[in-house]
Amino acid sequence: MALLEVAKLEAFYGQTQVLRGLSFKLEEGSVTTILGANGAGKTTTLRAICGMVRTSGEIRFAGERIVSRATESIVRYGIAHVPEGRGTFVRLSAEQNLRLGAYARKDRAGVAEDLERVYQYFPRLKERRNQQAGTLSGGEQQMLAVGRALMMRPKLMLLDEPSFGLAPLLTEELFRILGAISRERQVSMLVVEQNASLALGIADEAYLLETGRIVMSGKARDIGRDETVRKAYLGY
């Protein structure tokens, strides 16, 4: 059974329809990427899964119907959303940001363990644990957002443009860590990314989104070799 099943998903901002009948599946333990131009509906797809936009259609997570539920209930199933723009709690300390990630958890020992693990993945955050999160650099805030998501001990991570605003070296570092997390922690991931070659690099499956519809899907490897995709999104 697929971890996430989306069928005939439609989403709206006011009167404007952004997703026009999206269907896809995400297998447990896999990394899936959604590629597409600006405005294709990538971010909206992630927001729809978390109940942050008006949607219709079917979304099942681990067999459970989650569509039209409140965001705060959906995430408690084990879906961690790393939002566009990082969603930092700017006036709280870095460590408080991380601890908030575990807000819905009750197992104190597990939380302490996961905090240490996040600091292992991102030693920079440990150095800055008591610093006000708003004063962290863009890259550090992105790490903080990923760390906060990990603190939920999620089954699925939704990552929205993790490379946005990061220097190339930092981006590579981040994707290396994301790859490690998915392998070591068995966390499934749905990644939306402008930088298609990076995203295809860590993904197993890929979907191509155009104006709210999926126009191509397959193994990430094959999609990366497809000529139209290469010309349009990889630039060679």
Binding site: C50, M52, A70, T71, E72, V75, R76, A80, H81, P83, G87, T88, F89, V90, R91, L92, Q96, R99, L100, G101, Y103, A104, R148, M152
Partner: protein
Amino acid sequence: MDLFLQQTFAGLAFGGIYACVALAVVMIYQATDHLNFAQGEMAMFSTYIAYTLLHHGVPYWWTFLLTIAISFVGGALVERLIVRPVEGTSTLNEVIVFIGLIAIFNSMAGWIWEYTIKPFPSPFPKETLIPLKLIGPHDLGVIGVTLLVLAAVFLFFRFTPVGLAMRAAAQNPDSARLVGIRVGWMLALGWGLAAAIGSVAGMMVAPIVFLEPNMMAGILLYGFAGALLGGISNPVGAVAGGFMVGVLENLVGTYVPFIGSQLKLTVALVLIVAVLVFRPSGLFGYVVVKRV
């Protein structure tokens, strides 16, 4: 010199009451970006509840705790039932609801308890073991109670997970939802806490100004002045601002002849205008800087 110290201490006692009101105002402002104009009337209504409990023979400190608890529940219910339907629609809608709440609480209090002035007891003894020269026992008690309330609020926000979740929900509601915080309930909790803090202010000020439906009108104005002076975005600053306004008001009333006790309220208004013109973020407020 004695007069100066006496007036300063008396100012601190009133300042404590303003500080509570300022803190209540700031709590809701932080969560919603709006000033609850009905904060004072809610506190007045709470004081009437305390009055009724006392009248039925409940001992003072039990009344005190019960009133705080009832106010907390009442504040949360006001948010859930009355404010919630207009939340996030438009500023004007919310402000009009706040003004409506003023009218509702004021009229309800007048209807239930009548508009006649009622005495309200002070829990503190009239005489102290060691005679106090500079400050009355009630004033001293008010300062003590205020500091206790502030300490409790501080500890709540600093050290409890729910306190942290409330701050998170106020700073970034979307992110808060994404970690599973029920933001709507946090707002209700904020209203409840604000009402509870306000009820303390009401019970502390009632022995001085007497209980009547309009007793908080002036106090709320000073509370706003305190919150603005200290910084509307910073609870600690708002509390400091409340104390400062109390002292300033008293000293100006004593030493500036043409102001006296008649023009004291004007001081608060002048202060509000001055802060808004010269330092809108207050003395200790955060200036919100956005990276573009």
